[in-house]
Structures are given as C-alpha cells and as structure tokens.
C-alpha cells in the first residue's frame, strides 16, 4: 500500500494537481463514522455529535449511506479509509482523495482556511476537558449548545472574498449617531446625541466605537464584545467560531469537490497498472456512487459529468482551473450550457398537491432557466443570512436583522435568541421574515 500511495501521488502530480500530501489511515467503520459525525478527529464533546454518530452508524448497519472515505482539510491532509473496502476500492478511494486534497489546497475559498485544524482542535478539546472538570459538565454542555446554535454565523471577514454589504434599513433615532458627516468630522454632535452617547458609554463602554458597519459574524461579535463572558467561555466560543469559519466554504463547493474528486480518480485509475478484473471492479464501484437521482442532484455524477464535458472541449487544464477558482454556483453559471442540460437531462422539479395526491413533476426544462435556477440554489446558504446591525445605546440590546426574503422558522429563531441573550447578557432582537411578513422577535418574548 505504501508504494501504491506513492504511485497515486505521482499520478496526481503528473495530472497537474497540487494537493496537500495525504496521510492515509484505514479504520473500521465505527471509527470512520465517528470522525464523520464530529467532522474532525479529537473533537470536543457534545451530545449532538453523539446523535449524528448514532444515526449514521445505525444507517450503515442497516446497509444505507455507506461512507467510503473522509478527508480532513489540513496540511498534511488526513484521510480515513474504510477497512472493509477491498483493495481496488481502496485504490479508487485514495485516488479520489487526491482530488479533495487539491481543492482544499488550491481553491480560492479553501486555501485560506486554517491548515493546522486537527492540532488546534485536539488542543482545544484538551482544554475543554479541563473546563468541564472545573466548571462542570452541564455548564460546558450549555455553553457549547449556545455556541453551536450560532456557529453557522461565524465569518473571518478579512478573508471573506465576496461579502456583500447592504445599506442598513430600518432607521431608528439612534442611527444618526453613525452618520457619515459625523464620522468624517463635517459636523458636530447635537446635544441629544451627546446625551445618548454618554448614556451608552456608561452602560456599555466601547460600544460607541465598534459599529462601523453590519457584520455577519454574530458569534465573533459576541465573543469580542459580550460584557459578561468569563475567559473560559470566551475560549470555548472562539474555538466554535474557528470551526465554523473552517467549515464555512463547504456548502459552496459540494458539487465541485465531489465532481473534481471523481474526475481525479477516473484520471488516476487510467494511469495505474491494473488487471482487467481490477478495472471491472473499479468501474463497478465508480458506477455505484455516480447514479443520477430524479429528485436531487448527485454531486458525484453531475459535477463529474460537467467537468468531463469541459475537458473534452477545452482540455484538462481548464478543469483544474475550475477546481482552483470556482464555487458551485459560479461554475454552473459559467459552464453549464444547452448541450450539458440536454445530455445530463437536468431539470427543475416542482411539487404539486392534487386533492388526493402529492405529485412531483418536471417544472422547467429550458436550459437557461435551469442553469439560473441551479446557480441560485447552489449559492443559497443552508441557513438564513443574519447580521448584527447595532447595539441599542442605553440598553445594551443587540439588534440582529435577516438578510434576504425567505421565511424563517419562528420557534427556532426565538429559542436561538434566548441562547444569544444568555451569551450577550442583554436582550437580543431580530428583524426577520415569518409567514411572509416582516416581524420583530426578541429574546424571552412572552406574547405571541
């Protein structure tokens, strides 16, 4: 296997890939599923990961949802391979991993993620274990629960390539405190503004200076400015935030990641010396993971097929360029053409309700419409976008607002706001859309 790993590495390099070196480890399924449930080895503990582990392991034991491998984005990368893969499957999986490792190292959205994450996380977990001894199991569990609730809203803004800024709507009397003329020194404070500022300074020192613009980094804002967090709590939340930032590019590049990894394993397998039987075995494994699905897009199939068609017309350098530069959305927008839509038979479906039945049918087949629909849906984050807008002077409340027009789940939002208040120490409000209307929610709301 050692020499195989070397051959695969050489093949990947000669293809033009530049992956992180990969450290392979074969593990039994329960270890693989455990790492998969936590996202990283040596992870800190929380029951939600235990739930994921349990659900995935149970699925595996019932013969569903097999995971062949798991790659950790780090330098060197770590790849865990299922022990009961046969030799040919292991070869295929190792070649596949090269594709992931390349995307981690070279893609615009991945290359700046932290590459020391496994060590960082192992050290953090050790600290967490100590905190648990000192502050108690429940204190830690509750803290982590609250951190995880807003983990998706972690951003490393310096490294964020396309952070869209929006003007602040919903002006309040306090907004003039932040107006441009004032900031540029073109006018002086009015008396009422002075009073408001002084009052705010008294209650929340420093709040005045830290509201230059809205931020999507809710967790970061809380970690930095919450007046009530203890050091260990700040540490725990910072780790959760770092992890959030680390996984942030994931949802934008699922199609690209898997498509490119399949493309890579196909290319590398072609270059390896294999018997006829082995090729047949590899082809079977390949086919089993690249089945198209009528009510969803299988990224292994769709991403790979798109790349293969690009390669036919423009060569493999173009494929690697895509892996380096694009997101799922930009890839589809720039490359999905009429021929691909036709050949891959991709469509938008809609669900209809008749009196007696639920019915799924092809709703759109026009290639431009399909392309735009796909590009939009791949750009859509899996959670609503939310920004910290301001702190309310004199009260210490934190004001959040939803960016976007999609309805939010009100019950979940309220509970999450309660969590936020626990971390922030004061009321947290959220202007959002619920049942197609704009609505203001706040923590520990009692009315309906």
């Amino acid at each position: 296997m050692e020499s195989l790993a070397g051959e695969i590495w050489d093949a990947a390099r000669s293809l033009g890939l530049s992956p992180h070196p990969v450290h392979f480890e074969t593990v039994p399924y329960h270890v693989l599923y455990e790492v998969a449930a936590y996202g990283l080895p040596n992870h800190y503990q929380h029951w939600t990961f235990g739930r994921n582990y349990w659900v995935q392991k149970t699925r595996y034991e019932h013969g569903e949802g097999r995971i062949y491998e798991l790659v950790i984005n780090s330098d060197p990368a770590y790849a865990y391979i299922l022990q009961n893969n046969n030799e040919v499957q292991k070869t295929l999986v190792m070649a596949h991993v090269m594709g992931h490792s390349h995307v981690f190292k070279c893609n615009e959205y991945w290359k700046d993620t932290r590459k020391d994450m496994p060590g960082y996380m192992a050290a953090a977990s050790a600290r967490f274990a100590t905190y648990e001894q000192v502050y108690g199991f429940h204190a830690m569990e509750e803290l982590i629960t609250r951190g995880l609730a807003v983990q998706a809203h972690s951003l490393d803004e310096e490294h964020e390539p396309v952070m869209e800024r929006r003007p602040v709507e919903n002006r309040t009397p306090y907004d003039e405190l932040f107006d441009l003329d004032l900031a540029l020194g073109k006018r002086a404070l009015t008396d009422s503004e002075k009073a408001a500022r002084e009052k705010m300074e008294k209650i929340r020192p420093g709040a005045w200076n830290r509201l230059p613009r809205p931020t999507g980094d809710i967790l970061g804002y809380i970690v930095r400015y919450s007046p009530q967090l203890l050091d260990y709590q700040r540490d725990v939340l910072s780790v959760i935030r770092q992890e959030g930032i680390y996984f942030q590019p994931y949802y934008r590049t699922r199609l690209l990641h898997e498509g490119f990894a399949v493309w890579t394993h196909q290319k590398i397998l072609d270059m390896l010396d294999m018997s006829q039987d082995e090729r047949m075995e590899a082809a079977l494994t390949h086919a089993s993971v690249t089945l198209p699905s009528p009510l969803g897009i299988n990224p292994y199939h769709f991403g790979w097929k798109m790349l293969e068609m690009v390669e036919k017309e423009r060569g493999s350098a173009e494929v690697i360029k895509i892996a380096n530069e694009e997101t799922d959305s930009s890839f589809i927008r720039a490359y999905l053409d009429e021929r691909m839509v036709e050949e891959l038979d991709v469509y938008k479906w809609i669900k209809k309700d008749t009196a007696s039945h639920e019915l799924w049918e092809v709703g759109e087949k026009d290639w431009r419409m399909v392309r735009d629909y796909l590009a939009e849906s791949y750009a859509r984050p899996p959670y609503p976008g939310i920004e910290v807008r301001r702190e309310v002077p004199g009260q210490g409340s934190l004001v959040l607002a939803q960016v976007g027009e999609e309805d939010m789940d009100e019950k979940y939002a309220r509970e999450t706001l309660n969590y936020c208040q626990d971390l922030w120490g004061h009321r947290v409000e959220l202007q959002c859309r619920v049942d197609s209307r704009s609505k203001l929610l706040w923590s520990h709301m009692t009315n309906h």
């Binding site: 296997m1 050692e2 790993a5 070397g6 590495w9 070196p21 392979f24 480890e25 074969t26 329960h30 270890v31 455990e34 080895p41 029951w47 939600t48 990961f49 235990g50 739930r51 349990w54 190792m94 995880l148 609730a149 807003v150 983990q151 809203h153 198209p292 699905s293 009528p294 009510l295 969803g296 897009i297 199939h301 769709f302 891959l344 038979d345 991709v346 469509y347 938008k348 479906w349 809609i350 007696s356 039945h357 639920e358 799924w360 049918e361 092809v362 709703g363 087949k365 796909l374 849906s377 959670y383 609503p384 939310i386 999609e406 309805d407 789940d409 979940y412 509970e415 999450t416 619920v434």
Partner: protein
C-alpha cells in the same frame, strides 16, 4: 508525498462517540419519560408478550439555530432524468396522508425508532405509582435457596480460616504488638442457612366478558392489567394473579383465556365477587397476603345492589379494590352506570375502594395512577 499509517488496530483518534451517544440516549429517555402517558397504551408494548425490548417512535432531537421555515422546503428542487425529460413529466406521486415529505430521505418530521427495554420503561412509570394501603407485616417465611458463606465460628477447617476476623480477635486481646496468635483467637468461616421474609400479594383481575364488552374494551382492559400486574410483581417478591372472567357466572381462567374469551351473556358482578371470596378463603390467608382486586365492566348489571352489598361486606379484606368502568362509546360520559352508582352509595370505605372510568387509550395512565395511589394519608398498615 503521501504516507500510510499501518493498520495496528490502534487509532490516533480519541474515542468520544460513546459518551456523547450515551448523552444523546439520555436525552431521548427524557423525551420518552415526558411522553409516558402516550406510551402506556402503545399497542407494541401491551402486546409484547414477554419480549424484553419494544420499538417506539421518538421525534428527532434537533438543536435550535436560525433556520428557514421548513413549511416552505421541498416544494421544488432539481434532479436528473434518464434522458429526454420534458416539462410536465410526472416524476413520482403518492397518496396524501399527513406528512409533506418527498419520497426518499429528508429530515423533516424525522422520527427515530428507539428500542427500549420494557423494564426501563416500567421503572420510569413505577416511580409515579405506589401500592395503596400496603401492609408490610403480611409476609411469608421462606427458606432461601442460597446458603450464605458468612458466619464465623471458633472451630472449623484450617482452609476456612478467616484471617481478618482472627486478627481482630488478636487485637481485641491486646496482643497485636508481639503478634502471638492463640487458638482462642482463631475464627473460621462457615455456611449459614438463611431464612428470609418476602412480602406477598395476590391480585384478582375480574373481567366482564358479557356481550356488551367489545374489542376496544378488551384492549383497554389489557393495557391496564398489563402495567398493574407487572407493577405488583415488581414490588412483591411473590405475587400471584388470579384471573376471573364473568358474565352471569364466574370462572377462574388462565391468562390467555382471560384476555381473549368473550361469551356474550348478561352481566352479574356478584358471581365474580363470590368466586373471589371463595378463592381467598381457600388459598390466601389474610395474615400473610396483601390482597388487591380490580374489576372491569361496563357497569350494566341489573342486580348491582346485591353486588354492592356483597362487596361492602368484604371490602376490609382488600388493600385496594379497584373498579374500572370502560365505556368507549358512551354518549353520556359523565353519567354513572347502575353498578358504579350502587358501589358509590353502599361502599363506605373510600380508601379501600377506588373507581375510575375511561373510554380511550389516552386515559389509561390516569386510570392506573388512580388505582395505584394512596389517597388517604397515613394509612399504610391495616389496623
């Protein structure tokens, strides 16, 4: 350059899964505990027939976060056909029933099927129950089968020498300093035959099998009996159950017949009470047996006054006599039947007599609680 970790069976990954998995299961148990009321009448459990584990549905334990409204999800999406799909092609359909899931896997309304140990479930439940009017003095002397290797004697085989006990004797004598062990100090282990006292209970279950008692009556009866029988067995080392079916006549039957027999005559409760008294007199002396009885009926007994008088005359022998009236189709739910009115008027011992009325599965738990609780404070032992 790639590297390979030789497979040693040791993985450089701290195993966390089990603890967090346990914690998750703990949370599931909590949910189950909160929903005990619904589970009590779960058919899987009631009809488990001695199986140790049952599968019950539990909702997916989600964590709160900001998320989209799930109502609007899965209304549209993208997919791939086998080639040549056209707008309007039907991809799949299914009859409407409840949930709005698309075929295949989604997490909406996801439920686990959790396998739970019936014993564990019973423990949760029984936390809320007590044995009414329990008499701790009514016990049987039983020679325990296990003899205990625990007694100490001054003579015995050297191989059974109890060194610790021997040294204690030395110390008692004040000879520990120069450690001289006298033959007086020697202590040997020996066997002892134990007698222990175990508490006794007999429970009479009286089921009305007359024509008016149908399928749902039978199920509700069974649900209540299931838990009470188990509870009694759990709390008493030795519990016996006497199954009696009655219409105009009463018969002692086995457990299987008790639940499945239906006869179809009229109802005469007196017959069941008389049989109970006969069996008690023959087999269960009151100084060593705690006696419970639960009678199930729809209450349509035209000679109910006789029955009530008879019961009033023997109510003192019961730690608790429960009357369960089952009326699934009762339009006058709050109207008392003849029998329950007669019982209520004639039986004066409100602590030994408890009546409940129920019509549906959701009421099973409250019925059990009412039957198995001390309503009057301070009474635990018969005067």
């Amino acid at each position: 350059m790639n590297t390979i970790e030789p497979d040693t069976g040791y993985y450089d990954i701290q195993q966390k899964g089990n603890r967090d998995q346990e914690r998750h299961l703990e949370k599931i148990k909590h949910v189950i505990k909160e929903n005990l009321k619904e589970l009590v009448a779960n058919e899987n459990i009631i009809t488990s027939d001695g199986k140790k584990k049952v599968t019950v549905p539990v909702r997916y334990l989600d964590e709160y976060r900001f998320r989209y409204d799930p109502k609007n999800q899965d209304r549209e999406g993208s997919g791939q056909g086998k080639g040549g799909s056209r707008k309007g092609d039907v991809l799949g359909q299914r009859p409407k029933e409840g949930s709005g899931r698309k075929p295949g896997n989604t997490h909406q309304d996801f439920q686990y099927l959790v396998e739970i140990d019936i014993d564990t479930l019973a423990e949760y439940l029984f936390e809320e129950l007590t044995l009414p009017n329990l008499d701790l003095t009514r016990k049987a002397q039983v020679v325990d089968q296990d003899e205990e290797f625990s007694d100490r004697r001054k003579k015995g085989q050297l191989s059974n020498l109890d060194k610790k006990a021997t040294l204690k004797e030395v110390i008692k004598r004040g000879a520990a300093d120069h450690l001289s062990i006298d033959s007086q100090d020697l202590r040997f282990r020996t066997w002892r035959t134990k007698t222990k006292e175990v508490s006794n209970a007999v429970i009479f279950l009286l089921r009305d099998v007359s024509g008016s008692m149908g399928e749902s009556e039978r199920f509700l009866t069974r649900a209540i009996c299931f838990w009470i029988v188990w509870f009694i067995r759990k709390r008493y080392d030795r519990a016996e159950i006497v199954f009696i079916n009655y219409d105009t006549e009463a018969f002692e039957v086995d457990e299987d017949r008790f639940f499945h027999e239906g006869r179809g005559g009229g109802t005469k409760c007196l017959s069941a009470l008389q049989l109970t008294r006969t069996i008690l007199a023959e087999r269960y002396p009151l100084d060593v047996w705690n006696v419970y009885a639960i009678q199930f009926s729809d209450g349509e007994d035209f000679e109910c006054t006789d029955a009530a008088r008879f019961l009033a005359g023997m109510i003192h022998v019961f730690n608790r006599f429960g009357y369960v009236e089952i009326e699934p189709n009762d339009s006058n739910y709050y109207l008392l039947s003849r029998l329950s009115r007669a019982y209520k008027e004639i039986i004066k011992d409100g602590n030994r007599y408890a009546a409940v009325k129920l019509g549906q599965a959701g009421e099973v738990w409250d019925a059990i609680k009412k039957l198995m609780s001390d309503e009057v404070k301070g009474i635990g032992v018969r005067p």
